[in-house]
């Protein structure tokens, strides 16, 4: 159980961190200050901890529950959290749409929903409502604000397609 130094590339920033093998990616990210990654159920049911993960050599990033990944498993991988998608001044169209549509109530589930939506729009820029609903099957909103969330993802997709999206 000796700690070992691994590399986590988070939102374009390389971190060398000494970690024991029983530390999850979720814990590692939050300890590094990426508190936009939320800790919910820690069982893969709620999606609050979702991040985009691109293993070394992988063609594209995939959305995963960071609570179900050990940090050592993703040594050298590229990780994108919701804060890596945009800034307060230049939000990603998904982030802007969540705010505009009132898709954020308590806000705890929002990072995970936005990560799921980003993964969807990256592979399917023009999703149907059904496809949006399927893409967020792994996310729970305990405020039950699902309607506005679906709407926000649709708005963001339309904006991105229209090319007025700002950062992407």
């Amino acid at each position: 159980m000796k700690p070992e130094t691994i590399t986590l590339n988070v939102n374009g920033c390389a971190h060398q961190v000494a970690l024991a093998p029983n530390v999850t990616l979720l814990t590692a990210l939050r300890d590094l200050g990426y508190t936009d990654v939320k800790c919910g159920c820690e069982k893969g049911d709620c999606g609050a901890c979702a991040v985009l993960l691109a293993m070394p050599g992988a063609e594209r990033a995939e959305a995963v529950n960071s609570c179900l990944v050990l940090a050592w498993q993703v040594d050298g991988a590229r990780i994108t959290t919701v804060a890596g998608l945009g800034t307060a001044e230049r939000p990603h169209p998904l982030q802007a749409a969540f705010a505009d549509a009132g898709a954020i109530q308590c806000g705890y589930c929002s990072p995970g929903f936005i990560i799921a939506a980003k993964a969807l729009l990256d592979r399917n820029p023009h999703p149907t409502e059904r496809e949006i609903r399927e893409a967020v099957e792994g996310n729970l909103c305990r405020c039950t604000g699902y309607g506005h969330i679906i709407e926000a993802i649709q708005i963001a997709a339309d904006k991105l397609l229209a090319g007025k999206g700002g950062v992407q």
Partner: protein, 293 residues
């Protein structure tokens, strides 16, 4: 907080097998981790060592080898969803993949993990049983192919020896005159463990009578089971409404359900019959639609 363990990181399959040969009883292979990490956290499992097989190149890939479709044990559930070979020759497996867990889980969970974990409710098991799949178990001493039906012994118990790794899964390329499909019932429409699941495959002869049938039911016995009596009831028959209803009634014989948090034994028995009837009806409809097109 997870319990303490040692973490092994082999870079190749031979290296992984050598680690298993040396340290076998203490080592648990870890691929996607979607089951194991939850079990560790809940204290249901406390292996001394975890061995990360998630990066082994030998465990990846979907392809056709002669008369078989072969998929690496490390194939993720997500990659089953889009692969043309699975769409063509494993539609039932693809349907199961689309209903397993949720998209985040499917991006990590692997076929070998789903089978080796041997949950009676494993969603990939019924379609693979219906397809007549075998699993390849490899150790430093060599490889053996075992039928999936024999591989899964009981709840969380398989024929896998501690020094072996489940490296691939294969099934015969289905006959052109065949159809297969999968169905599950969960407590929610999405992200739900199966209360009961089932798959069926039918191969017709030239006169349109059933030449072979495989029906598999999960979460209704200590392991996913074949419904042999129901299969026999279809043999040599045309798949009429009466024949299908007879087979569906017989399918219940294969189940030994229990009452648990997801459903009662009585409910599972009724659903086993209903699901087999629906599966076979859908299979007949799919065949008719395919012939018209």
């Amino acid at each position: 907080m997870l319990p303490e363990f040692e973490f092994l990181r082999p870079h190749s399959l031979p290296e992984a097998l050598a680690m298993l040969a040396d340290q076998a009883p203490d080592v648990m292979p870890l691929a996607g981790g979607t089951n194991i990490i939850v079990e560790l956290r809940d204290g249901h499992s406390s292996p001394k060592k975890l061995m990360d097989v998630g990066r082994l190149p030998e465990l990846n890939g979907i392809g056709r080898k002669g008369e078989y479709i072969v998929i690496g044990g490390g194939t993720t559930i997500t990659s089953l969803l889009t692969h043309p070979l699975i769409a063509q020759h494993g539609r039932a497996l693809q349907e199961a993949a689309s209903m397993l867990g949720n998209p985040f889980v499917r991006n990590r969970a692997t076929v070998a993990g789903n089978l080796a974990n041997a949950s009676p409710a494993a969603d990939t098991a019924p379609p693979l049983l219906a397809l007549g799949a075998e699993v390849e178990l490899v150790s430093v001493k060599g490889a053996r192919w075992v039928s999936l039906d024999k591989f899964m012994v009981s709840v969380n118990k398989t024929l896998l020896e501690p020094n072996e790794l489940l490296t691939s899964v294969r099934w015969p390329v289905p006959d052109a005159r065949s159809e297969a499909c999968f169905y599950k019932i969960g407590l929610r429409k999405a992200d739900a463990c199966s209360v009961i699941n089932a798959a069926a495959m039918v191969i017709w002869d030239e006169s349109d009578y059933c030449r072979q049938a495989r029906i598999a039911i999960g979460a209704a016995a200590p392991r996913p089971v074949r419904a042999h009596a129901a299969e026999a009831a279809l043999l040599g028959q045309p798949l009429t409404k009466d024949v299908i209803e007879g087979a569906a009634r017989m399918a219940v014989q294969a189940t030994e359900p229990i009452d648990d948090i997801r459903g009662t034994a009585a409910y599972r028995r009724r659903m086993a019959e209903l699901m087999v009837r629906r599966l076979l009806t859908r299979i007949v409809e799919s065949r008719a639609a395919r012939r018209e097109s």
